[in-house]
Amino acid sequence: MNTPEYDLVIIGAGPAGMSAATTASSHGLKVAILDEQAAPGGQIYRSISSPAIANESILGADYYHGRTLLSAMRYAKVDYFPSSSVWTVSPELLISFSKAGKSSQIKAKKLLIATGAQERPVPFLGWTLPGVMSCGAAQILLKSSGLIPSGPLVLAGSGPLLLLIAAQLNRAGVEIEAILDTTPKGRYLKSLRHLPAALRNLPLLLKGVGLLIELKRAGVRYINNAAQLKALPDDTGLLTKLQFKTGEATDTFNCKTLLVHQGVVPNVQLTRALQLEHQWDELQQCWKPTLDSWGESSQAGIFVAGDSSGIAGARAAEYMGELTARRIAQQLDKLSQETLLLKTAKTGRLLQQQQAIRPFLDALYQPADEFLKPSDETLVCRCEEVTAGQIRSMVAQGCTGPNQTKAFSRAGMGPCQGRLCGLTVAQIIANERQVTVSEVGYYQIRTPIKPLTIGELADLAE
């Protein structure tokens, strides 16, 4: 069997992947881009090739910016593989992926991982009830289907996406019972010292303020300092009420849909499975791969760009994709070191401008402790149904890290492969042991990073 070989294989067709593909092909590289979604765009520009909603003012201009990236990639010479889930990458950069129930392999001289972000798990009592959904999910439904959640609708959480989706739903005429902001009181003060740097990206800062004003003008009820969320079921087991506290007072809202959000974190599944070096980002409260200034990881030839390298947003991802692709072209002798520096100077500055606002946002929207280290009765592993209390009692028994609690409790062994419990479990263990999360570590992520059938795998052996 002849395995196709590429100069550059990119995993993920979001902003970083698309811009890297376009740039790399402009330097004459043979490029393949693999994406598990059926259409390009990633989550931020989801369905950008055929947006569902007729009224473009609902999602706003930032979303339709994705069309620029898309048309550039269409004109570039790039082998694009949609609906292709990468399930393993060997250290020699042999990439195995599953498409329509069949596995194939391609080889890469250089690999760019641009697998984006996932929403941070938001464990609280009742977060597994039907009716509770992430804000990102609601946005995906808007972008790709034009679907809006059934009411009464409540949004709860913290972070820019919470405001954005609220504003988008409001523009679409959806009635919002209330927005509960869980940002703890002290955060505003704490984040102030980062404000001067954030002013370098004034337009984005103003956009955030604009969303708040838009929601207030529309008369949406906005409740600050909401805490101790508890979603309650009706007698058929579906979400019916959200209980919460502000200060000492307990209050409830009726709701059929509750959208929750506590920011996004890098999708480290593949970078972890490849055993690249990672570091704990204290401000963002998440892991990210350790990279040089061009995005090259601890394993030479493997690069990471976009939100999977650390959260910085869609525009930053686009710039990073371009910078990394040029660096790869230079490593493959398609351009000189001088040309590289010349060609990347401007984009480098734009990237820095995008990144300047992050410390402010990260400090402001760092999740409240109750979502990082939830109460004992809260489920942390949704797949295997393991509670925070069970993790704590295993620490008391001597478990020092998440791989031991995984072995003892099955937390992290379900089909999501630890994506929705890894951060929480590590935080709980760190807190119980009174050590840093960095010392506690993370799950050893195993192949395959996406499930595939035994038959499909078996066919590779024939």
């Binding site: 379900g414 089909p415 059938t453 052996a461």
Partner: protein
């Protein structure tokens, strides 16, 4: 658990080096003998054969060239029910032991007849006391109707079984702590010094003193044994294991290559590679494992693989265990094998008694490392 204890508390009757399945079983048996025990173990990330194994309590075919090994494997299998029961009584944890027999499927007539010949030889050596059956495909389907058309047949061992190795590890940990044992998780030992009254161990967390020591550190024994006049010529042998999603129960008996756990997950395995200390997985090997498993049970083709891992077996040159007391430094013992689950009941029972009392009726002389130098 890292204990920040004073120096006098860092003294114990026995220090067991290694907190895996082997170390814990021996430690429990030593506690049963009234001894105070400390386990020195590594942290969250280490070469963990105990967390990567397949969970078989397996007798058939073991010890075909060493009758004593066949004998201790069978003895352990007989002791298992009691071992599991006592763990459950103490901790409430059901380790899901089932010993209703096990099957070894063969994909060719040649493999089946070779296996039949081997088991027949073992039966002869055991003077007839070695139960097994050889089944053709039709007979096999009476046990497992889902066996595929490419299967030639199987051998059946009524003494075989399986359990949940992770629950086993957890139950032993709980019972050990209940009985007042100490586990030092930052206890990777770098130096062992024999003293007048026993041994002083230097670990990452400081020093420990034990009147006796047991080396049960798996592959780590290779470096530790020479400190006390022993040798452990161990080599890692990688096995890759595939774990599939939970499905409703269909496989009522464990097989040498596929088993279904009580949770419903399917485990596929039994690859053997000499790859040094690389515990990773490779797509060619996991593809072969998947291929073979789906030949044995075609319905597995639809099942989704959730994760795969490599774990390093602890192998001696002949594959048999090492049980040895140091002649040079009395009080130091070496216990190491690649079948920590099967031999678990033996380790908690007669092996621990041997260490506690310095005598045994087991034929342990055949299991010392001199066999590799003679």
């Amino acid at each position: 658990m890292t204990q920040f204890s004073t120096d006098s508390q860092r003294r114990t009757d026995v220090c067991v080096l290694g907190g895996g399945i082997v170390g814990l079983a021996v430690a429990l048996g030593l506690q049963r003998n009234g001894l105070s025990v400390t386990i020195l173990d590594e942290g969250d990330i280490a070469l963990r054969a105990s967390r990567g194994n397949f969970g078989l309590v397996w007798v058939q075919g073991k010890g075909d060239t060493l009758p004593e090994y066949a004998a201790i494997s069978r003895l352990s299998a007989k002791l298992w029910a009691n071992h599991a029961l006592r763990l459950k009584e103490a901790t409430g944890i059901d380790i899901q032991l089932q010993q209703r027999g096990g099957l070894f499927l063969c994909l060719s007539e040649q493999e089946l007849s070779q296996r039949h010949a081997m088991l027949t030889r073992m039966q002869k050596t055991a003077a007839g006391d070695y139960p097994f059956k050889t089944l053709d495909l039709q007979q096999l389907r009476e046990f497992i109707p889902e066996a595929g058309p490419e299967v030639a047949g199987a051998t059946w061992g009524p003494e075989d079984g399986h359990l949940n190795p992770l629950f086993y590890l957890r139950a032993m940990t709980e019972q050990f702590l209940q009985r007042g044992g100490t586990i030092d998780n930052s206890g990777k030992v770098s130096k062992i010094e024999p003293t007048d009254s026993g041994f002083t161990l230097s670990s990452d967390s400081g020093q420990w003193h034990g009147d006796q020591i047991v080396l049960a550190a798996g592959l780590g024994n290779r470096d530790l044994a020479p400190h006390v006049g022993l040798s452990a010529p161990l080599v890692p042998n990688r096995g890759q294991v595939l774990i599939c999603e939970r499905v409703k129960p269909f496989l009522n008996y464990p097989t040498g290559h596929v088993r279904q756990t009580n949770e419903g997950t399917l485990q596929l395995g039994d690859s053997k590679e000499d790859v040094g200390f690389d515990s990773g997985t490779t797509s060619d090997i996991i593809a072969k494992i998947a291929h073979r498993a789906s030949q044995m049970f075609p319905l597995l083709r639809d099942v989704r693989l959730i994760r795969a891992w490599g774990a390093l077996r602890v192998m001696t040159p002949d594959g048999y265990p090492l049980y040895e007391a140091s002649q040079q430094y009395p009080g130091a013992y070496l216990v190491t094998c690649h079948s920590g689950v099967t031999l678990g009941a033996l380790h908690e029972g007669p092996i621990a008694d041997w260490i506690a009392n310095d005598r045994t009726e087991l034929p342990l002389e055949v299991f010392n490392a001199k066999r590799f130098t003679l």
